[in-house]
Subunit: 331 residues, 3 copies
Amino acid sequence: MTLTAREIAEIAGGTALGDAEVAVSSAAAADAAGPGDVIFIEDPKALPAALSSSADIVIAGAFAAGASRESGALIVCEQPKLAFARILRRLYQAARPAPGVHPSAIIDPTAVLGCDVSIAPHAIVDADVRLGDRVVVGPGVHINAGVAIGDDTDIKSNVTIYSGTSLGARVVVHAGSVLGSDGFGYVRDATTGRYESFPQVGRLVVEDDVEIGAACTIDRGALAETRIGRGTKLDNQVHLAHNVSVGEDVVISAQTGVAGSSVIESRAIVAGQVGIADHVRIESGAILGAQCGVPSGKVIRGPGVLFWGTPARPIKQYLKELAILARMAKK
Amino acid sequence: MTLTAREIAEIAGGTALGDAEVAVSSAAAADAAGPGDVIFIEDPKALPAALSSSADIVIAGAFAAGASRESGALIVCEQPKLAFARILRRLYQAARPAPGVHPSAIIDPTAVLGCDVSIAPHAIVDADVRLGDRVVVGPGVHINAGVAIGDDTDIKSNVTIYSGTSLGARVVVHAGSVLGSDGFGYVRDATTGRYESFPQVGRLVVEDDVEIGAACTIDRGALAETRIGRGTKLDNQVHLAHNVSVGEDVVISAQTGVAGSSVIESRAIVAGQVGIADHVRIESGAILGAQCGVPSGKVIRGPGVLFWGTPARPIKQYLKELAILARMAKK
Amino acid sequence: MTLTAREIAEIAGGTALGDAEVAVSSAAAADAAGPGDVIFIEDPKALPAALSSSADIVIAGAFAAGASRESGALIVCEQPKLAFARILRRLYQAARPAPGVHPSAIIDPTAVLGCDVSIAPHAIVDADVRLGDRVVVGPGVHINAGVAIGDDTDIKSNVTIYSGTSLGARVVVHAGSVLGSDGFGYVRDATTGRYESFPQVGRLVVEDDVEIGAACTIDRGALAETRIGRGTKLDNQVHLAHNVSVGEDVVISAQTGVAGSSVIESRAIVAGQVGIADHVRIESGAILGAQCGVPSGKVIRGPGVLFWGTPARPIKQYLKELAILARMAKK
């Protein structure tokens, strides 16, 4: 696959300066580019080096208007990183697995498969599962009875999806994740002191365009549902407990855990290794710094304020506290 | 499956007031109930709303004695949540997989299978494995040579169990967990500076009625054993290192990690994302708050005191320290 | 397998005192030994008990020179734990799976297999994969197209390896781990507020003698590479993001996470549940205490200073701060 500067300018919604017919077949980081590469920069300070690099095409923001290159092309557009991402998608189109069901896959006869689904070796699709068009089910994946999966959703290897789960369209689930598992619900019998399980009979609903990293665990609701809103992205090893509700376009980084019945509203940003206890509300657009902890029942105000520490507090306050402590320790 | 108020009262060990013959087929949260539902409440404040709800059956604690409903039934018992859990188990009996060995499963001829075991597609059972009666082995599960598994134990999809592991009866292991893996033991060669593995040749013993969440990792002992006591419950993504010993009826929430040779005594309660270093002792009934950290070699006193922070200290002290800091930062 | 004191002395590079022909077939912890066992001690205080124990062979450090036993043998050497590890490896040689490809494995005809590889049931090896000699591929493992794996590497059950990954020789990957998954890269479209994926097209390179625990997730580079250096050891549930670079002989304990583009130089030691943000540099030989957090862009100086807390600071300072706080809270 190759793209000319003219084609890239069109994808980027920008203008091509220089040689509009120069073509690239690969992309690189700005500091590691060679001939045949396209690069992008977002920082005006990086412009001189980018212009004189051997990359054939440089994508830059509006700050580059008026600049020129000795050879190759310069593309000026509003959102250079977004443009670059879209060009990457063209240059590196992952080979979609061919449609078809591998003979070693075990498909229940009551499962309903859309057009052009691809089911890999050793996948297992149980009774009454419904797969949309062009769904990809990876090797070793197990989809339990009654699960519904929307069009173009891509389930990577060795994922397990429990009954009671539905996934929307264009969802991506990376390898080893577990969706719809039983929540951690027990009742202690006061007379014996022993725990009995509180059966988890709710649902897990994953909306369109959600992406779930590798080795995540998302529990179904206890009685009601766990829900992940449209466009939300989870990194690897994220844990969401029963009855958690995550809004749209939320970002949650690796190894973060969210306890039962907590709500993360749309467009919140949650860093890595954050702990959110039960019955918490993270308001729309709130930002939680890495490793911070939100105690049970708290509300974190959004949008735009960064919280840090355990218990999580506005970063200004947290840094002030740290500075006071450090000063006292120096005496 | 339906249950009448009379039947539910019997299961609950309580008394049915109102229409003892009204029947339900589903359960709901108290604030989301409709006709045909059973609900439960533990909080006296929730009683008026529950009594007037459209739920056909309300289960409540002793505080509800003397109350009445216009229609439907009210069941008064000692432990309403426990009763509700038991009723859920009746109403939503998960369809147990049919006994039998799927033809795509690979069972070593020396493995010994109990009565009515169910072995799913693509499961693998190695030499000298012993499975008790009614054991369920999920799809893609791999049980290594010599593992012993007790009656009625249920291993969900894509679990891996290493050699040297034994599981008791009625154990549940959720999808993607890894049991009996090699502990993290290395010796640095002082002459080369390189690490050599310290072979991990001990055992993992999981006693009866233990439940293990999804994507947990439990290492075998180095020379001796790792042990999880009867009735203990682990949430998702819990990590237990080699030679850890967990007592009976312990609860450990998600993403908690326990380093080598630490001991968690019976009935301790460990919240999520807790870190317990090596050679720690958590005394019986101790409570560790979310994200707290217990340094190497420490003893946490039980029962009943909540510890928080890193290093973990009694919560009163921790909160006092936080308050002092916050006050100083406000000046 | 049995070893005599004479043979063990030779492996240990030490001298055997007492009965050089006494033989052992098993190893034990020093406080749990019986006849037929070999034990080791590193602490001079443990010497008297070890000498009089019923273990047939005691391995001890130079401090034991001049001691003697009534029966059995005493082996004095420079590195008793290292010697013991090597003896364990002899006594407990894990039965290597027999070479061969199980008929239920699905091997693409373009894959190139070395001599004496062992491919377990239900493993899947895609196009253009290259496996070195004596590679072991466990049950349910999926190796995507183009992956290269060096000699004697051992991939345990249910591991997934994405395209773009290469593993060196003698690498061990424990069950359930995911290697080479897509990094967590998104670009927010300023006009719609939605996230688009930044395609992850880089590589993951795992060098010789690396060991990776169970349920780890290691992402491929975004454009360039993620790299784990020779001899480095990762515990269970470790997460490494895209473009992370880990040097040689680094040790990373369980549940630690490293964000994008951070560098951990050779011989650093990272404890459990540590969080390393993006673009951090951990210098060679630095030591990070459990649960500490290193903020974005920071440099942690090595070698030899232990850092603790979030944000990570030298432990002396951290402990002083804790002591001041505790004193104030006591007033």
